[in-house]
Symmetry: C2
Subunit: 456 residues, 2 copies
């Protein structure tokens, strides 16, 4: 049967509806047609007691597979509502790297009671994985992979593929180790095995140039290389070049997608680790400090406006256009900023392009500034019937748009050149800059033309 | 040799440097260690004549492979600088789906002269691919894939894999067609072929439930299903369920990354098809209309402030805090907005979660509003020595932060429920809303306490 997207029911929505209503049997039936990833997404949005009933009735193996896709913080909440026996049975079936992610978040005493329930080999594996620092290749790798000795015959390797347990990645490559040192020596694809002479040694058909990642390097580096080299997976090696895990292309997709989203969230001074299911209390903690800092950033604009108090006393209507000028500067700047961050994040632009970015934004800003300034000049005149006010507001807006575009478009390059995250907090910093330049130019010009303004 | 990321030279930077200096020989040598994707990124940032020299000296096959990763608009510029013979030789070696992307952008007469140089089968293929509308599965699929007849013996299928040309995807699956109707009937993995009995018919070992995508469905739908099902590729079928192409996991990674970035760019009213190498003139065209629209959006706040002209005449210092209140509202709102768009884009949150989002943002907004309002109240008092001004500004800021968080956090859900793009233009719309509520509350309260404000 061909399962074409458009002709399929939305079983995920159905599963969700049944789980909200508490009809576990129906949910289990509908979920048969839903991928583990989407099932896990459904589970995060339905009552917790129904999630537990659903998992208990799924059978441990299936339940653990789905739970492996849940955000670790959610799994912790879930385990808290289950008996320790059930929690142990669920975790025992989970991929060790997923269990390790959960383990880091559990209270120590509870974690060690759970680990005591596990088979010693599995326990050892999980504890080791949990020790790799967040973000390293070691912290995301799967320790299940297939290796053979370089002296094996191809027929033996094929037999090893046949006998490999299901949790081992066995659909793309087999890794080849040095017979004595156990160091990673090469890799052989299923295609090479299938087409090779069964009596040949694997050493003679393997590829010996292997792209690998060190266990303490960033996992993202592996994901980027998997993408740019079009690899299916990448082996993770320790200092002795012994193989300790693999990172797959599927994981790479997730790592890259999250990284990209994080960049944009960081630009808006939101915390990249806040997600939809972050409890409000934690979300407050994550968002508040940035915003409190922003109050102090904004004092610059306050000071500028205060210094022009005299001008405003005489022509109060000037205040009416203040938010317009700052808002337009902010928006134009953020527009340019987001295009730049996107180009850097997708790898289209690099540091060396800084001057190209400056030139581009200068040209764009000049055109946009003149056009928007002229438009605004007309609007202000029509609204207030004051030619000079229109001209002053239009010029200020035009210059601010130019400045905002250049600053917004080039800031990520400058920050990256300083070795920092090119997106973090750039939104609020940018609006602070454009607020100050905007009000300074606007009120400065107004003061200059004060007598004409008062005549109208 | 193990190619561990940290121990490798940055050959891409080297290649770029040599190409900037015009040392083509050295660049060719350095580029041997660089992936085609990264090489293509390097080429977009160096002088055009050196790009052409580099490609001409790479040999057509390699040059076409690298050029396949270039943005089609860049390739068009490149072709314009080459002789028609060279352009034809380059394109003739390109994957047909990549050529088709370029073809759409070429002047008609030039395109048909180039096509006339091509082998008729290849020409036919490219022209067909160029006809699928942008964004459909047909427009991104590769027409090179391996099929066998369901009656074939496994040994015959293995032989077909052996003989398949290199441009055919032959490392994961072989697709199985009905012997007469040629409809897609199933799929068989290399693992199944390798482990199966060579004399068995492929029909008996294939998987007959195949996830497929119709040629006119969105390519993104294929990418999402490839990700959530952890597939390596997905066949594309026409109305008669005949197979016409494949979409690979590598392409899916690129599609998903661009889609995600586009969402965030759209949120800032920037055009998703503007990239780093969009010429300034086009960038102006893409950005200006949104910003002009924004001027009119902003007139609401202008009208509100104008109506309070009287209050400002009497307490001009009120104007000093106007940008602060609108800026904070905008930033808090965009913070919440970006977290929501991220959750929707990564598939963590769905429409049904609307009320959950409202509740969450209400709680966060209440805390943040009180905290930031109180802080601002103190700041305003310290700066101006006016208690009432501090209280008024603090309350206005607090309420505006609450409103901004709720509106920003829930707006994408509302827009998506209306069937529109949940990100498009939300940034400027949001700041318009928060500007108006912010200044209304601020100046409204100020007018109410006018007599106390004037006393200070």
């Amino acid at each position: 049967m061909l399962l074409v997207a458009s002709s399929m029911h939305d079983y995920a929505e159905q599963t969700q509806q049944f789980l909200i209503e508490g009809d576990i049997k129906a949910a289990l039936k509908a979920a048969r047609n839903v991928s583990a990833l989407r099932t896990s997404q459904v589970l995060t949005r339905v009552p917790l007691e129904n999630v537990i009933a659903f998992l208990l009735q799924s059978g441990w193996e299936k339940a653990a597979y789905v739970a492996g896709y849940l955000p670790p913080a959610f799994t912790v909440t879930l385990l808290g509502q289950m008996s320790e026996d059930d929690a142990g049975s669920l975790l025992a079936e989970m991929a060790p790297e997923k269990f390790a992610d959960v383990l880091k978040l559990l209270p120590e005493a509870y974690a060690s009671r759970l680990l005591d329930q596990m088979d010693p080999v599995y326990r050892q594996r999980v504890m080791q994985l949990a020790e790799y620092p967040e973000g390293t290749a070691g912290s995301v790798m799967s320790p299940n992979f297939l290796t053979v000795d370089a002296d094996s015959h191809i027929s033996e390797v094929i037999e090893a593929v046949r006998l490999a347990p299901a949790e081992v990645e066995r659909t793309a490559y087999v890794f080849v180790l040095h017979p004595e040192t156990q160091r990673l020596e090469g890799v052989v694809s299923l295609r090479e095995l299938m087409l090779g002479d069964p009596k040949a040694k694997v050493r003679n058909v393997m590829t010996s140039d292997v792209f690998a990642i060190a266990v303490d390097e960033p996992a993202l580096e592996a994901a980027r290389r998997i993408r740019s080299r079009r690899l299916k997976m990448m082996p993770v090696v320790d200092e002795q070049q012994a193989m300790v895990g693999i990172i797959s292309i599927g994981q790479s997709m997730d790592l890259l997608a999250h990284e990209l989203a994080d960049e944009f969230v960081a630009m808006n001074a939101a915390s990249p680790d806040e997600s939809f299911y972050t409890p409000p209390r934690q979300a407050v903690k994550k968002r508040l400090p940035w915003m409190a800092a922003n109050i102090f950033l904004n004092l610059g604009a306050v000071a500028v406006i205060s210094s022009f108090e005299n001008t405003i006393v005489q022509v109060a209507i000037l205040a009416a256009f203040l938010p317009m000028i700052t808002d337009m500067g902010g928006n134009v700047g953020i527009q340019a900023l987001s295009v730049s961050i996107r180009s850097i994040a997708l790898g289209e632009a690099r540091l060396i392009d800084f001057w190209k970015a400056v030139r581009k934004e200068l040209v764009i800003g000049l055109f946009n500034g003149v056009a928007l300034g002229a438009l605004f000049c007309v609007v202000a005149y029509v609204l207030q019937g004051n030619v000079i006010l229109g001209v002053v507001a239009g010029i200020a807006l035009g210059i601010n748009v130019l400045v905002a575009g250049v600053v917004g478009g080039t800031m990520p390059f400058l920050i990256k050149r300083m070795g920092k995250d090119p997106a973090l907090m750039t939104g609020p910093i940018l609006t602070t800059i454009t607020d100050i330049t905007g009000v300074t130019i606007y009120l400065g010009l107004a003061t200059l033309f004060l007598s004409s303004l008062m005549v109208g």
